[in-house]
Structure formats: C-alpha cells, structure tokens
C-alpha cells in the first residue's frame, strides 16, 4: 500500500498531529519507504502458521476474586496537576 497526501492528512488528523502542508510530500515519500518494507514482509507465506498471541508458550494464571487493594487516594492524588472533590481534573473533553 502507499499513502497519498489525503491519506497522510487524515492519519495526522486522527493522531491529532499538526502537519505543515509544505512538508507533506516529503513526509509521504519517507513513510511510503517504510510501508514498502512492510509490503515486503507481507510477501512471506504465513498460511500454515498460527498467529502468535504471546512470545512465551505459557498460560494465564488467575487470581481469586478478593479485594486486596485499599484506598490510596490521599497518597496518589497529590501527584496530579489538578484535583477537586476527589476527582482528577482534565481540560473539558466535550463542547
């Protein structure tokens, strides 16, 4: 696959990156060189290979359903830039 300037603008928008239109062509070309390497990987025949979920051939262990973590709010909240009424404050995320 290859990116055209429209694809690039869209990806930049989704990633919330500001992109100078003047850099667009050069950036697209560099990204396309990387994508070319990925295309090369796509050529490998993996039809017989089971997708790997984890590099270690082990099984997940499970813990009992008991409450072991107690309230640490007074310890950790001073680390946050802004808190109020027990909540962490962030810039408003809806209009």
């Amino acid at each position: 696959m290859a990116l055209d300037p429209q694809d690039l603008a869209r990806v930049a928008h989704l990633a919330r990156l500001h992109l100078d239109p003047a850099d667009s062509d050069a950036l697209a070309e560099r990204l396309n060189r990387i994508l070319g390497m990925i295309d090369h990987l796509q050529d490998a025949d993996v039809g017989e290979i089971e997708p790997m979920a984890h590099p270690m051939d082990m099984v997940q262990t499970l813990r009992d359903d008991t409450v072991t973590d107690t309230d640490i709010r007074t310890t950790v909240q001073p680390l946050a830039p802004a808190t109020e009424a027990g909540c962490y404050l962030v810039p408003r995320v809806i209009e």
Binding site: R10, L14, R16, P51, M52, A53, H54, P55, M56, M58, V59, Q60, T61, L62, R63, D64, D65, T66, V67, T68, D69, D71, I72, R73, V76, Q77, A82, E84, A85, G86, C87, Y88, L89, V90, P91, R92, V93, I94
Partner: protein
C-alpha cells in the same frame, strides 16, 4: 413505500465480582470518587494486570446459558484510544479470540410470538472510568472535566447480537431476555440505573424485500428499556424521513438524550478511530478445560425458558403469565414460595402479577424489598380459600400487611375482617334489607329474568354495606336468591 427496520445490539454487562478484572480494587457502587482506583487502575508505570478467575467463570456461564461455543483459548488485546477516563491509553478487551462464541436466545413478544436472535459472540473486557462534565472549573473559569476512576477496570462482558431484530419491540424483548438471563444465572445484578447493563443499538432501514442491508448508525449507552425503545423509534423515523426526501444515511455514532427525546451525531465514520488492536503482551492466553466447563455447567440454575415451561406445566399458568414470572429470578422465587404457602398457584400468580407488581412499581422498589413476604401472601391466599375473607376484603388485608400492620392473620383479627358466614345472622340482615327496600323487592319480583339479573346487584350491595363488606358473597347470593322470590307475608 414500505420500509423494514434492521437492528443489532451490543450489550455491556457488568459482572458482579467483588474485585476488578485486573486489580484487587473493590467494584462496590457508590463509593467516594477514586477511592477504589488502585495503581493498576490508574495505569501507574510498572504495574501489571492479574486476571480475576471469577470474571472468567461468569463469562463462561453466560456462554453456557445461551448454548454458545466456549472459547477454550481466548486472548486479550489492546484497543488503543485516547480519552481521559482510560488512563492506560488502551482498553484491554478481546477481539479475534473471544471467550464466548456464537450462540442463540429465544425472545417472546407481547402477542406471544417467539423468535430466535443469534448472538455473534461475547467477550471479556474492562470498563472505563466516569467523566463528569459539569461542576468543574479552573482558576480562569474555564470548564474542566472531572475524572472518577472507581469504575475503571470493572469486569464486563460485551454481548454482540446479529442484526436479527426487525422492530424496537423486538430489540427491547431481546434486551429484556438478556437481562433475565444474566440476572438469573447470577453474573450481573441487573441494576440498569447504576449502569450495570448498558445498550448500544445499531439501526438501519431498507426497502421491504431488499436483500442488502442499509447504512447503519449506532446509538450508544442507553440504560433503560424505555429509552432504548424511544431511541430506536426516533432513529428509524429520522432515517426513513431522510431517505424519502432523497438523502443518504451517514454511518455515524449518535447520542440519545432521554430527557428531551432527541439525538445528535457524536462522530462520523470519517472521524472513526483506528483502534490498532494487538494482543496484550501483559496477559497470556486464557485456557479453559472441558472439566472447567462441565463444573460451571453443573452450577447453572434453572434458566428462565425452562422455568417458564415448568410454571406452565406444573402450575397450569398461561404461557404469558409464566413468562412474566420466570423472567426475573427474584420474582420467580417469590412466586414459587407464595404458591407453596398458599396451596393455590394460580391465585398466587394473579396476586404477584397484579397487586404485588403494581405496588412495587408505585413504590419504585424491587421484589427483594417487598414489605410483604411470600409466606404472608401465601397465608392471605389461604384465608381467601378457606372462606375467612372474601377476595374484596383481601385487598384491604394486603394493603394493611404492606403497610406493616402485621401478618394477614393478625390484620384480619385486629381489624375484625373475618367474613360473616353465620347463616342465621346473615339471614336476619338479608331479611332487613328486603324489608327496608320493599318497593325495589316488589319491582324485582315483577321483572323478567333478564331484568332481575341487573337488579340483583343492588341487593347484594345493600347487604355488603350493612356488613361492611364482611358477608360471605356466595352465601349472600344464595340467601337473596331464595328470599327475593318469596312473597312477603307468605
């Protein structure tokens, strides 16, 4: 032109575990903000998730309840997106290898029609925290969003149906059925108002007979059956209006506001996230053995469908009544206890579906909080059966018991509600009523049979008035029939 509606559901079900899916923090509802957010839930660097066995067990139980294939090997993946109620920057969820595969449930509509709805799959995942958009401002008076991470990491199963529903009614019936199943098997408390079950509806319309599905929209986070029905109807109308005016439907996510019965677009497909799923390197594949599955199957209680069938067969209830009672495990338990105590299941069913449900509704409480125990209801029904009280007086007894005046027997005694069954005493009263209303009695005798039937009620009413409703209705009827036909003085 005739349009067909096509609906699919995505249902988030909070599993009723004591601790979170990946941490040892409590999941109790209503705690102080962030008092139940552990280092794992806060996504502190260096912390690692450890999977809760009970969450896995509960998910498998759901799979068994809907006859689904259980994923004997399931894999957690990271769904990446940026939002402040998700401090890790990704939700740990399942995609390619979920814990519950394809299954099926049967829904029943109010007219009794039954229909199968296929379940595509159900997967385990963690819930996000809560964003509070009101009430917070910085020093410059700029609005801020408050984040409470108590809910972050609460175990969920997300149930995804096939687009098998054709109306808002069917979608609600499906939602109710899922509610009934998850509460009956004890994997979710079912408290919708607390967000324990939340529904996303995918809606599209197409011309009747068109094999191709129309473009769908998704309305998110509906937390009551009522809102769900209203939101679907609203969206169907919007899509049909738009198409009939020559427009096109855009694939988008919509947000419904129940207070105003309006919806607005949240984001369109153009802005849709690419979640960049990949297997979570912090978690290994989860393996479930055949022995695990059989042990969990053995733990399953009687399911709503089986219970409904048994109520019909064992107690002779109508399919519809049996369905209402069996649909909620607590209601079903209450009914069965009352029926046992009463010795009359049909009467018990009528009372539970009628007066008990009505009062619970009016008071806004659930059957677990019912002030009248099943044993008390059974006792009251016994008193109707043995002639101590009439069905009419029973309503009074019911109310008094509801208001905490004691057991039915205590109320009947204290209020002197025992039915007057002494024929001698009743006879005197009947005689008095006929004497006091000689003109009407005369008219009665002169009337033909059809008219007499209509006039009879007047005399019954008079007797009931004199006895304050305590006269045994069968005896009053018999006595009046006999006495009214006699000519006075004869």
């Amino acid at each position: 032109m005739s349009w067909e509606t096509v609906i699919g559901l995505e249902v988030h079900v909070q599993l009723s575990t004591a601790s979170k899916i990946f941490s040892g923090a409590s999941t109790a509802f209503g705690a102080e903000p962030n008092s139940q957010a552990s280092l794992v839930d806060l996504a502190m660097p260096g912390t690692l998730p450890v999977l809760n066995r009970e969450a896995v067990r509960k998910a498998v139980k759901f799979g068994l309840a809907i006859n689904a294939e259980i994923g004997k090997r399931s894999v957690f993946e990271r769904k990446n997106y940026f939002y402040p109620d998700l401090p890790k920057g990704y939700q740990t969820t399942q995609l390619a290898e979920p814990i519950v595969g394809a299954g099926v449930i049967e829904i029943q509509l109010e007219d009794g029609t039954r229909k199968n709805v296929r379940i595509h799959h159900a997967h385990l995942e963690e819930d996000a925290g809560k964003s509070l958009h009101e009430d917070f401002f910085d020093e410059q008076g700029q609005g801020m969003t408050g984040i409470d991470l108590n809910r972050a990491g609460t175990p969920l199963i997300e149930i995804v149906t096939e687009p098998d529903m054709r109306s808002a009614e069917e979608a609600v019936a499906c939602a109710r059925k899922l509610h009934s199943i998850v509460t009956s098997i004890g994997i979710c408390d079912g408290h919708m108002a607390q967000g324990s079950m939340r529904f996303d509806v995918n809606v599209s319309v197409r011309k009747q007979g068109d094999p191709k599905l129309g473009t769908r929209t998704e309305t998110k986070n509906l937390n009551s059956f009522k809102f769900m029905e209203a939101a679907i109807k609203l969206e169907v109308d919007r899509q049909i209006d738009l198409l009939e005016d020559g427009g096109t439907i855009e694939q988008e996510t919509r947000l419904y506001n129940g207070d105003t019965n309006t919806a607005r677009s949240m984001r369109t497909k153009e802005d849709a996230n690419d979640y960049r799923y990949f297997p979570c390197p912090d978690l290994l594949p989860v393996i479930i053995t055949d022995e695990d599955i059989e042990a969990l199957r053995a733990e399953l209680p009687e399911l709503p469908d089986a219970r409904q069938a048994r109520f019909s067969a064992e107690y002779g209830l109508s399919d519809y009544d049996a369905g209402i009672l069996a649909g909620d495990r607590a209601v079903a338990d209450y009914f069965e206890a009352a029926a046992q105590a009463a010795g009359d299941a049909k009467l018990a069913a009528n009372w539970v579906i009628g007066d008990v449900a009505g009062q619970l509704n009016a008071a806004g409480i659930t059957i677990e909080q019912c002030p009248l125990s099943a044993a008390d209801l059974g006792q009251m029904i016994q008193r109707i059966q043995d002639g101590t009280i009439s069905s009419k007086i029973a309503k009074q007894v019911f109310e008094a018991c509801w208001n905490g005046e004691g057991t039915p027997d205590e109320v009947i005694e204290a209020r002197g509600l025992k039915q007057m069954s002494d024929t001698g005493e009743l006879e005197k009263i009947v005689d008095q009523v006929i004497a006091d209303n000689a003109t009407q009695a005369e008219a009665f005798r002169a009337a033909d049979e059809g008219k007499q039937k209509k006039m009879f009620g007047f005399f019954v009413g008079q007797v009931m008035k004199l006895t304050q409703g305590k006269a045994n209705p069968q005896q009053v009827n018999a006595l009046l029939q006999e006495k009214l036909k006699e000519t006075p003085g004869a």
